[in-house]
Symmetry: C2
Subunit: 480 residues, 2 copies
């Protein structure tokens, strides 16, 4: 083994792998190529930076380049890997300075991540239109929202930042009305962020309820909260066009009343993420769910000694046992870490995913796990039965008790729990972990009903809302 | 089947059983005998009533006698069951009016609960000395703590209350210094309650750390919080005597500095609970763990058609598979409900217990589950290995992130998770449900490490504190 472990991409999956590898195999080399300047940043923290709740962009960085170097990792920023030769076991690299070279590898990890999709909308070259793509867009949005004379350049206090872009956005007149295109979790978080910056915010969602992946009960609950906090939520309102020449001027959208145009001076498009797999084009790599790189339980692709992890790779779904693609932070970190151990000689499974996700919209919390929608459940061969209950988050007499909605979905034939969601203002989100654990253990709804969950008046009623939902769903399964 | 289902005791287990039975078998009769006047009250809510956070005693009642009657349950308050004849299938009943009669049963549920133990201390006849035994003691404590001219008699707004006792305590001079004997969860909750009433509070605990059942890491953390909130915590300080003639005057206790006496004008003894099994003396009933009535997976005793549930009955421990006695609210409700269904003809297991418990002490939350102490683990045949980590409750950059201590205990040979505890100020307690679920699924620590738990900056870091603890414990199990 004379050649290093080569990692492409210096974010969650890549640096987790490199760090674990060096700890387990301190005598072996690892090289990490990152095409840009940013490394190890918290994508999920960007809305809270834009909101102003996080004061400095540097707060969102978990590791600095020097900390990475201290771990014995050979980090090369400004190095773009442009090709992989799986037979020669080399990658072709181009630097921002215009150099190019080949690097041999013993093992290769492709951790190229994903990119924010803009769907049919072109936000490039339109001032005031953005996707929440990376730290540079977050810095640009933050600068754009501020009044020109009130912008604090120290907000973007990281040398990697695209300062020219920040300055240009800071100089523009501050917006008053913002449209967010897409009611997924980024859309909800950005709605909260922009209300926090005192904008008049409109959220557009194509289908009947926002947070489609969380199910209708959650979507309705969060819509109510957004509305109460001043966000205008447009559901069943597909956006057709970003109107404007040079700078955004309006949003053209359809709906029950026909086509309309809402004048806005800011737009954020958040309609999904796509895996970055282009690097492996032509290598014979197999792609799978969502167009991501197909990987096995150890994160291996079909190419020898080539692994993939994070937002560019598939994983195995804990409920269906089938391949799935769900770009989420823990998945990337965990898979990276496992691959680092495996490459170092300690074979470690990357783990399954349950599709656990949580989101906060102002004072409302929500979580989802497993197969929540009927369609997904049927596709996986289940016959879904569901119940939604509203139960108290604490004993009724204890101050702070709040209605908590729990939806449980089971397979009719087997009674197995296959998914669930939770929404409520009082510690609701973290309760989803109970369902995630039950799902991974393949529990049935009767087993969930008999879980010995915590009870104390400040934290839960005698029957936790999850137990209440299990009781009701059991009744339905029994044909009550 | 001509005779009714007879239930002894009208609290959580008894009324859950009667209610479920009537719903499932609406044509059959159920009679519930309750020796006192109180029914269906929230024992766990009493500290919060005394604290003043709950305004009215009636807030702690979940069901009124008329609501019970509306369910078709024949509730007889002031009826004490004094004997059981399992051969004749009758119970002997005495009323507070002095009547006595026999009642035949088809099935019998003994749900006589437990009573607060006072250990070697006699609180009876000593003014200012109490145990937190029932609603009448809660009302008396509340009245005693108030200044005579400031007591609001509407606080104890339930007709069942022992008004003479309330009035007598209300008339006494209000206390300034209170001793709480016993640092279990009731002791911690009462410390918070009495500080809330502006008393100078001393908490005495026999061994090295309070909350012994929660493990040392939790005990230390809660002690720090109590101290910060003005409670003087005396650990390794066994109380020897309640000093005083007529009214409490002091607490004599031992410790590192030898015997001392602290002057107090109030004392609350909370040193444990004992099961009420005397009713079955002489019937040949088998007792088990903790001296409670031994029951099987359906809540059946060894006597034909005689069930037991709640604080007077044993249960099966999810980790050991052995008999255990842990008097907790959910256990009682769940077993009662299952027995109601079983007696109605739908055999339903009462479920196992995992020993899940949570407690709040001011701004600190704690939870525990399974086998936390080494001794309990060894007795059950495990070779315990443990790790305690401190990890953030949220992403470090998100406001409100707080250090959360997680202890996980595993069996060395099998790597199986056998217990755990959590402490922290930010939504720490409810996280114990994740461990409770993992325990019931017999998960190993590697399986826990691979759980797909929720991540979003306001709720959890990428690696949930439970995952961090599992990572560290796995390292230890691997011999790292």
């Amino acid at each position: 083994m004379s050649d290093p472990f080569v990692v492409v991409g210096a974010d969650a999956a890549g640096l987790s792998a490199a760090s674990k590898f060096r700890r387990e195999a301190p005598d072996r080399d690892v090289v990490v190529f990152e095409m840009g300047q940013w490394i190890s940043y918290a994508y999920c923290g960007m809305p809270y930076f834009i909101e102003g709740r996080v004061e400095r962009m540097s707060n969102l960085l978990s590791l600095s380049p020097s900390e990475v170097a201290d771990r014995g990792i050979d980090l090369r920023r400004g190095h773009k890997v442009v090709g992989v030769d799986p037979d020669a076991k080399t990658v072709a690299v181009e630097t921002t300075e215009g150099d190019s070279f080949e690097q041999a590898y013993d093992d290769l990890l492709v951790a190229t991540g994903g990119r924010a999709s803009t769907g049919p909308f072109d936000v490039h070259g339109v001032d005031g239109a953005f996707t929440l793509h990376n730290m540079d867009t977050a810095a640009a949005i933050d600068a754009y929202v501020a009044e020109p004379d009130a912008y604090d350049p120290d907000r973007a206090d990281v040398s990697a930042v695209d300062r020219e872009r920040v300055d240009r956005n800071a100089a523009m007149e501050a917006p008053e009305t913002a449209a967010i295109v897409g009611g997924g979790y980024v859309g909800v978080e950005m709605a909260e962020a922009l209300v926090g910056r005192e904008l008049d915010v409109h959220l557009f969602h194509r289908s009947g309820h926002i947070l489609s992946d969380f199910g209708e009960a959650v979507g309705e609950r969060v819509e109510t909260e957004l509305d109460a906090k001043g966000v205008t939520v447009h559901t069943s309102a597909p956006v057709e066009e970003l109107v404007g020449d040079g700078r955004i001027e309006g949003i053209a959208f359809g709906g029950a009343d026909g086509a309309e145009t809402l004048p806005v001076d800011m737009a954020i498009v958040g309609v999904g993420i796509r895996p970055n797999t282009e690097l492996l084009d032509g290598t014979g790599v197999e792609l799978g769910a969502g167009g991501a790189v197909r990987t096995d339980e150890y994160g291996r692709t079909n190419l020898p000694d080539v692994y993939a992890a994070g937002d560019c790779a598939t994983a195995v779904h804990a409920v269906t046992g089938e391949e799935a693609w769900m770009p989420l932070g823990l998945t990337a970190n965990r898979a990276g870490r496992a691959i680092g151990a495996t490459v170092a000689g300690d074979p470690s499974p990357v783990g399954e995913i349950a599709g656990t996700a949580v989101v906060k919209g102002f004072d409302m919390e929500a979580g989802r796990v497993g197969l929540v929608g009927d369609e997904a459940a049927r596709e996986a061969g289940f016959d879904p039965v569901r119940e939604t209950v509203t139960a108290g988050s604490r004993s009724g007499y204890y101050p702070g008790a709040a209605p908590t909605d729990v939806t449980l979905v089971a397979d009719r034939d087997t009674g197995r729990l296959i998914g669930g969601s939770i929404a409520g203002p009082d510690r609701a989100a973290i309760r989803i972990n109970t369902l995630a654990t039950a799902l991974e253990a393949d529990m049935t709804v009767p087993e969930v009903e008999r879980l010995d969950l915590a009870y104390a008046p400040p934290f839960s009623p005698v029957w936790d809302p999850i137990l209440v939902a299990a009781k009701v769903l059991n009744g339905t399964l029994d044909g009550d």
